[in-house]
Symmetry: C2
Subunit: 334 residues, 2 copies
């Protein structure tokens, strides 16, 4: 007899059985009665193979954060942690570098931490069915979706903004101010991350506005780090390529780029207009204040947990939510 | 028979028993043999009271982060999470607001998450023996110590910088540049937090340099938030009080203050010199770059875990580590 059998016989979810057995505070008296009736009737004891002890006891939800110390994630992690706790689960978080494979880490974590479900915060948009086969619990892609992969919508959930559309709109803001020589600062054009899809929005905007794409205006930094953005932007500026505006795929990268622009004697926004996507708190305090499309970070975190817990607790279906952004006018547009 | 008995009979630590029983990858073959010999000899099975199932299975270390989304904690949390994982434990994190009581949350968490140990990231420096009586596992104060409380050194560990001395040195840097009208931006002068002890360092510096303290130059914002620093600094500037330098007790607060100074038409550093303590990444990208004493964040996180795991695994003693800072010259001193 497993806790799955108990769940079936008691008419409650597996996670409810788990919480009853683990003496979790957030469980109804009714659920306790139902579960304990089955436990007593069938004289249930856990697997006594010592190596498997405790396998039935987890209320863990895993959070894999891709991108160590990325400030964009700070508020989302806070919201996710708070909501997981309020839902009666325990958040187990692991931060990985962008060089690591989030699915491999997630699969190890699922076993090691006996997860009930999983949230991937940041990751690749090109996961395949083969790659996710190692994940045996429901999972939510948070801040991205499977744009370039072949997953069925029923295989995973996602909560994010429309990255392509937001990149399009960012470039549109620059175009509306008269800019045509618009550089783009990104991680890579084809790395299967949010960088690629935001680059696609940049390209579509150029096309729609009748601007021919210029390879010299693409600045790949091969990471999402503020320090790399600063250094690569500085190197690129030394080439002396003519441009009047810069679209940065993230606030963090824009902050690095603005320091490089200042050191190169370029005034923002008089010499170069700057716009980005994300809306982190620090970029409200730059000089000048960064113009950017703000993601609803708290809502992204809360909804990711809601979707996942609904699947775990109520056998809910996978969902795909696209949330709206808001433009922070800032001071870097002209 | 409990896992404590097994540990005693097998001659290994309780956490090693826990890890063997939980099939944890990071455990030696030798430990597995010793533990399983005892388990088989005594025919050990876990407590079969279903309500207590799993009570012996935790390898959780709790992390209570006081100050939601405070960017100062980002790198420390990353280092702590990484080191806990490498030590064979699981990090369970909870973020709380500065209004909440970290010890109450920690005590609840200890029960609910069956913690083996606890790290408090940020908190009060005035905990009493009565207040910590509810904590039954070893704990480490990370980024603070019990300066104003009555705990015995053997009751807790701490890993932090010398906050009083660093505040003294920050004011000394301003004094060396000729400043005597030095304002201080802080949370509160007597809130029992790092704000109080850094204020003490500010006062000692004024005393040693023969500057009489002026109440008008104390700017309390009643929080550690960047937005509050910005608003309260703006309000204070409207009073028109004469000053030439500003010591901010944190980088984050300095970033808020610098925006208020700019909006009030005060140039940094020409009109007002600014210095802070912490050394977060974002303040390297302000315009001008913030001058600040940088905490060794990664080392603080790693050492906090090392001290705790040594106590859990090896019955190590509590330790109190004070780590050095480094001055980032920056551009806000003149």
């Amino acid at each position: 007899m497993t806790i799955k059998d108990i769940a079936r016989l008691a008419g409650v979810s597996v996670s409810t059985v788990s919480r009853v057995l683990n003496n979790h505070p957030d469980v109804s008296e009714d659920a306790i009665k139902k579960v304990m009736a089955v436990v007593q009737k069938y004289n249930y004891i856990p697997n006594t193979s010592a190596r498997n002890l405790g396998m039935s006891s987890s209320d863990n939800i895993g959070l894999v954060v891709r991108g160590i110390s990325n400030p964009f994630y700070t508020k989302i992690i806070t919201a996710i942690g708070d909501k997981i706790e309020k839902s009666g689960y325990t958040m187990v978080m692991q931060q990985i570098t962008t060089d690591e494979d989030e699915l491999r880490i997630a699969a190890m974590m699922e076993k090691d931490k006996r997860l009930q479900g999983l949230i991937l915060l940041g990751g690749h948009l090109n996961h395949t069915k083969e790659q996710v086969a190692s994940i045996n619990v429901p999972f939510v892609c948070c801040t991205f979706s499977n744009v370039y992969g072949n997953l069925d919508n029923e295989q995973y959930s996602s909560v994010c903004i429309d990255d392509e559309e937001n990149a399009f709109n960012a470039v549109k803001e620059l175009y509306k101010k008269g800019h045509k020589k618009i550089a783009v600062l990104l991680s890579d054009v084809d790395d299967g991350t949010v960088s690629q899809v935001r680059y696609a929005g940049y390209r579509r905007a150029l096309r729609e506005f009748g601007i021919s794409e210029d390879e010299n205006l693409i600045i790949p930094i091969h990471s999402f780090n503020i320090a790399d953005a600063y250094h690569e932007m500085g190197n690129w500026l030394k080439k002396g390529i003519d441009f009047s505006a810069l679209f940065c795929i993230s606030d963090n990268m824009a902050m690095g780029a603005m320091k490089a622009l200042r050191e190169a004697g370029k005034k923002v926004p008089d010499d170069v207009a700057v716009i980005a996507i994300d809306g982190i708190e620090a970029s409200e305090y730059t000089n000048p204040v960064l113009s950017t499309f703000c993601q609803p970070m708290e809502q992204i975190g809360i909804k990711a947990v809601n979707v996942l817990v609904d699947i775990i607790d109520n056998e809910g279906t996978h969902k795909h939510l696209t949330l709206p952004t808001t433009l922070r006018e800032g001071e870097t547009l002209k």
